[in-house]
């Protein structure tokens, strides 16, 4: 039995009076890739942003229930600490446009005012960029701006930036929806590598992607967690008719 790293208990979130995520209970195992899929507006992204307390940054957003990280309620931890433990990659690549590629990778240290010796910084940059298979492509242009890279490279740079902080969990909010197919496949390949060291929670509205990259899949519909199961089971033998309808394309 694998150990649980993130656990949601009766988790609800709201935008004003709009009830977006409804009573979600889920136990996410360590060192696995979890896909969260569902049609647009089903609350999957909102749920994801609740895990590292990014949800509360939006004016009018509130939440009820618990998200536990290694058994501790994230609402009782300082948000800064939560976000250091749980990294996040967004839908659109968002490298810091004022920083070089090198500085983007260590932005989590540099911009937080954590000073490291040069050798340690070099090590983190090389290690993180290698993790996302970007080192070979950018090692000669580390001083160029992060925005100089192509969209797919920028997204991998953003993953490297999150990886550099050595978080326990990495959240991905539709990480490939702004990328071309080749960049998408490169990012997907990374997931197989990254899940050895981190727990990945990947929101996607692309079922094929969920099937390709994940060990377990959660299906959200209308703010509810309909089904959470091994990906193979989910796609071959869905238990809920709504899941069945979704994966057979009867609604989207």
């Amino acid at each position: 039995m694998e150990s649980t790293i993130v656990k949601a208990v009766n988790y609800n979130s709201y935008f004003g009076a709009n009830h977006v995520v409804k009573d979600v209970n889920i136990e996410i195992p360590k060192n696995a890739a979890i896909a969260v899929m569902g049609p647009s507006g089903c609350g999957k992204t909102t749920f994801l942003r609740g895990i590292n307390r990014m949800h509360e940054l939006i004016p009018g957003a509130t939440a009820k229930g618990q998200i536990l990280l290694n058994g501790t309620d994230v609402m009782e931890m300082h948000p800064i600490f939560v976000r250091l433990k749980i990294g996040m990659v967004f839908q659109r690549p968002n490298p810091f446009p004022n920083l070089s590629i090198y500085d983007n990778v260590i932005a989590g240290y540099k911009l937080n005012g954590i000073s490291l010796p040069k050798s340690e910084r070099d090590r983190i940059v090389e290690h993180s960029l290698s993790r996302v298979a970007l080192w070979g492509e950018v090692k000669d242009s580390l001083t160029k701006k992060g925005t100089f890279l192509s969209g797919g490279q920028q997204q991998r740079l953003c993953i490297a930036r999150a990886v550099a902080m050595e978080p326990e969990v990495l959240l991905f909010d539709e990480p490939t929806s702004a990328l071309d197919p080749i960049s998408t496949s490169k990012v997907e390949e990374l997931f197989h590598e990254l899940k050895k060291n981190y727990t990945l929670i990947i929101v996607t509205h692309n079922m094929q992607q969920a099937a390709r990259v994940s060990d377990k899949t959660a299906f959200f519909y209308m703010g509810e967690l309909v089904e959470f199961d091994d990906t193979k089971n989910m796609f071959t033998n869905p238990k809920d008719t709504r899941t069945q309808n979704y994966i057979t394309g009867r609604f989207s």
């Binding site: 990014m54 968002n94 930036r161």
Partner: protein, 281 residues
């Protein structure tokens, strides 16, 4: 082509022509002002003009050294007062755009921008000059700082609003606290916009005369004491241009020319800086 189509094309061309004509018309006043003042003033400008103090009536020569240095000092002081307040206020307005306080702040800043400069001068007179008992450079600087404030606030706010939210989120997602997101991400990315706002506000207040009339007041001698009256370019122009002496008129023309060139230079510099330092998003 049918007649109707031709007619419509003709209308389109006429409209286009009209917009071009009127655009050119907008440039005409500036060109006239530039040509006229440079023609009248540039011959008066020489080294002595810049480095001498004004001479009493009857003596030839004399310069505007005191007004030049006075203007620099008064404006530097106003900048020091207005810029930190203005930038921080602009940051607040852009980061908490929906708060009640932001709404009222924005409203009052807009109204402040519409307050006539002479009224600001009178207020500074009653609040600072009267309690102090005499005119002073610092009261002029405060009056000008009040004029600068709305420009700096709004330009900072508008610059920062243009930055995508994804940038802030990138910072927060790395565990950065609010002040670091603002200082290390938001301000560096909006720096060129903020700086051009500051420079344009400096250009804007350099020529302000009314707020200085009953505050800095003017001073025929060289003074660096912020507690004492101080000469500035707009004041020397105002005083000398309304005098009956030809020598003094010449000084006023020269000073006008300097003022104009300064504003022109600041505007061009702003364009260059904002193009060069702009962070490509």
């Amino acid at each position: 082509m049918s007649v109707q189509v031709k007619y419509r094309i003709g209308k389109s061309i006429a409209f286009q022509g009209l917009t071009i004509l009127l655009s050119v018309l907008c440039v005409v006043p500036l060109i006239f002002i530039l040509v006229y003042i440079i023609k009248a003033g540039v011959t008066k400008i020489n080294w002595n003009f810049l480095t001498n103090l004004p001479k009493p009536v009857g003596e030839t020569g004399g310069g505007i050294k005191n007004a030049l240095l006075g203007s620099v000092e008064v404006i530097a002081l106003s900048t020091i007062i207005a810029v930190p307040v203005g930038i921080l206020c602009g940051i607040y307005l852009s980061e908490y755009k929906q708060s009640k306080l932001a709404y009222w702040t924005r409203l009052s800043v807009d109204i402040l921008q519409g307050v006539p400069s002479i009224v600001i001068g009178i207020i500074a007179y009653f609040w600072i000059v009267k309690p102090m008992g005499h005119f002073s450079a610092i009261s002029g600087s405060i009056a000008l700082a009040i004029m600068m404030l709305p420009i700096v606030v709004r330009s900072t706010e508008e610059t920062l609003l243009l930055l995508p939210d994804s940038l802030r989120e990138a910072g927060y997602a790395l565990g950065m606290p609010f002040h670091r997101v603002v200082l290390k991400v938001i301000i560096p990315c909006g720096f060129s916009g903020i700086l051009s706002g500051v420079m344009l506000s400096v250009a804007r207040i350099t020529g302000e005369t009314a707020p200085l009339l009953f505050t800095a007041f003017g001073n025929p001698y060289l003074s660096f004491d912020i507690g004492q009256p101080m000469q500035t370019l707009p004041l020397i122009i105002f005083n000398y241009a309304t005098s009956p002496y030809n020598d003094w008129h010449d000084l006023a023309w020269g000073a006008s020319c300097i003022l104009l060139l300064w504003v022109l230079l600041l505007n061009i510099l702003t364009k260059v800086i904002s193009a060069k330092w702009k962070v490509q998003l």
